[in-house]
Amino acid sequence: MSEASKHGPLPFAITLDVGSSLANKTGSWRTEVPAYVDRLPPCNDACPAGENIQQWLHHAEEAGYEAAWRQIMADNPFPAIMGRVCYRPCETACNRATLDEAVGINSVERFLGDEAIKQGWTVPVEAEPTGKQVLVVGAGPSGLAVAYHLTLLGHQVTVRDSCPEAGGMMRYGIPAYRLPRDVVDAEVQRIVDLGVRLELGTTVTDLEVALSSFDAVFLAVGAHVGRRADIPAGDSAHILDAVSVLAGLEEGEQPLLGRRVAVYGGGNTALDVARTARRLGATDAVVVYRRTRDRMPAHDLEVKEALEEGIRMRWLSTIAYAGAGQIKIEKMKLDETGFPQPTGEFEELAADSVVLALGQLSDLTLVENLEDVTIADGVVQVGKDLMTGHPGLFAGGDMVPSDRTVTVAIGHGKKAARSIDAWLRGTADERAARHELATYDRLNTWYYADAPATVRPRLDLARRITTFDEVTGGLDASTALFEARRCLSCGNCLECDNCFSVCPDNAVIKLGQGRYEIDLDFCKGCGLCAAECPSGAIEMFPERL
């Protein structure tokens, strides 16, 4: 009985106390219910090294550079190297490219990697020692990555490499103007400092012995043998191979290329060697390639930079004969299938030397005598866990079937480490199911203002073609922050408070620290929160009746 009615016979309509609308649980109207979801950002999906890019950008956005760096290090021990040489599949996949320009993920990664070197950040080994011994053959990106991850998991790792210095193709393949050696030194040293035993100048020749003295072996010998082509050549023709030229340069040799250099091939190595020749004083460096630019395996950015540096391209051409001081080129045309066919038209081209960059092969003599290891197409066949047919013998990087990039190799290192760890412990490597992809159509891009990407500074051309100084500069703290904040946070809540604001029923509760909750007592299921979520992190599900 209400207060008013105690005071005598008042008319009914004013006998009730004022009540709150909260008594009316409008949640019962609902046929659909919103829920916060996490979708897989396209950058993460595309990263061969399995980085959680969006998460580290999230840290970087609030200038949490160390936290961001640690997030990268969970998957990839080479942020400063990656930030220079990765071919950025993440940026190709980035949803922001559809809006204006892709987020400069790679440039932020480089900033973080350089910052870590400057600040001396390290990663602690927290796992208990397992007492297990693992041998890694090859100190390239996949070998070092596997060593890094296994060390963090508590295993004792020994890395052997026949070269005098560690880094593999990062040191002996990629020219210094793309990847300065002090960066390689710093990131390799950080891994060694974790307790990895690095035995350089040591060639593993007997795998049987190694397999018996270690609990597991990871092979990462790379692909360091230049593919040869049978080019009819005169006695005085000067023919070299690209891998040897690049590796020799690293070991202090000055290859005698002459002033006019013809490079044969269309991959990144061809461009690397042509650009290197230019820096060594060649006035004319020509890349001879049998197909067209759009069919060239080299990455577009490298082609662009090479052209800027005055490298000439001879598309649709093969070398028919190499003589002294000149070569004979045959023009090609593409048939319906896109395959080049000879035309019978020839042309002379002045060239003091010919460098072959026709691809690289792996030296697999180490596994030739192991019966249970399968070799096909010049590479070692492995399972999904990167184990060869031989129990306890794993392989990764350029010597297994894959795209031959540093990033893929690093991804192999991480994957192999998990498999090896599981194998050593006798457990299964359980991987969480992948979330649904956060595609562009899931976003409400209205809420993102236009913001063009930050351009990285670049060395002026005169210095580029005369020195091996690094071509591309890095971002500074303010531009890195700007670039990180261009991230759209696809598929994951970015804490914009839109859902909390647009609900006509106040049925979104803001819990703080980036957490929200739907108040199901009052949510009518209108779907405005989901429609107005910029990042597509809310989904409507049918209500169970």
């Binding site: 309509a13 009730l16 106390d17 004022v18 009540g19 709150s20 609308s21 909260l22 008594a23 009316n24 649980k25 409008t26 109207w29 956005e61 609030e62 209205w446 809420y447 993102y448 203002a449 236009d450 913001a451 700007f482 904040r485 261009r486 991230c487 759209l488 946070s489 970015l494 804490e495 914009c496 408070d497 839109n498 909390f500 604001s501 647009v502 006509p504 029923d505 106040n506 049925a507 803001k510 703080g512 980036g514 108040d519 007592d521 009052f522 009518k524 299921g525 209108c526 779907g527 405005l528 989901a530 429609a531 107005e532 910029p534 409507m540």
Partner: protein, 337 residues
Amino acid sequence: MTQQRVRFYQIGSYAAGNRLLDPDQGSVQADAQRTNSLNSGHRACQGCGEALGARYALDAVMRATGNQMVAVNATGCLEVFSTPYPETAWQVPWLHSLFGNAPAVATGVAAALKAKGRTGVRVVGQGGDGGTVDIGLACLSGMFERNDDVLYICYDNGGYMNTGVQRSGATPHAAATTTTPAVGPEPGNNFGQGKSLPLIAMAHRIPYVATATVADLRDLEYKAKRAMEFRGARYLHVLVPCPLGWRTASNQTIQIARLATETGIFPVFEAEDGEVVGVSKIRRRRPVSDYLEPQGRYAHLFGAAPREDVIARIQAEADRNVRSFGLVDPRCRSMEG
């Protein structure tokens, strides 16, 4: 631009707030301590634009006045769905009298507060477009003309919605309502009729007149706050899409309001002393059909026998808005679609 936007978070965002912002840079709605003037449990339809607009506006006024505010409500959806006796969804002092007299009652409240020396308490009158442009127009014009110290807010959903979607003086041309059905050679609401109350208010030369929509929260909050910086009669006209009357999906309320501004159908501006002083530029201009087609009240203009002629007349109205208010920045993207 009417205001300097916060150009920080996630590189310049149009969202309500962000984890990277200082709390005082966020919108009122992003504040977990906002008033929630209109509380949960109200009986507005799913996705109601008016419920959203009223909370946006009154929460902003509450912050601007330090919670010293009284609201006077005309009859209409907003009153009916918020106060079924004996419940109320209002968490602010709130008063309802009749359909047509809200501006006069608000004037009275302001006069009473002045008599008591409590001029620090501010008065807001509010109603739908029916109560404002039709039934309450005489009282409102009087309130403007006397320059009474009241902010009057009209939540415009273009019709009498809770009584069954009848036409009002704010119903747009060609829109179908139950009293302007989509029949005959000129289906829907007549061209040449209806009125723009923001322009009528400006003609009174009152200190402040502004328009806003639920699609631009920051702008709406700015205008509610700006209005409280003046004394005298002020008028705020807020476009609030109605899923029921406009026959749109409940999750499209904000998107439809956005399209109303991006097509030029609904110009967003502010005026002081009868002169336009600020205009929200169109960001990505769209043809009016993008706005019309998702709405069931314009369904008769599309389909098997589309009425290109009628759509062209509506486009011409939008083009006139763009011209007369200068809605397009020369640097703006061209019309898409």
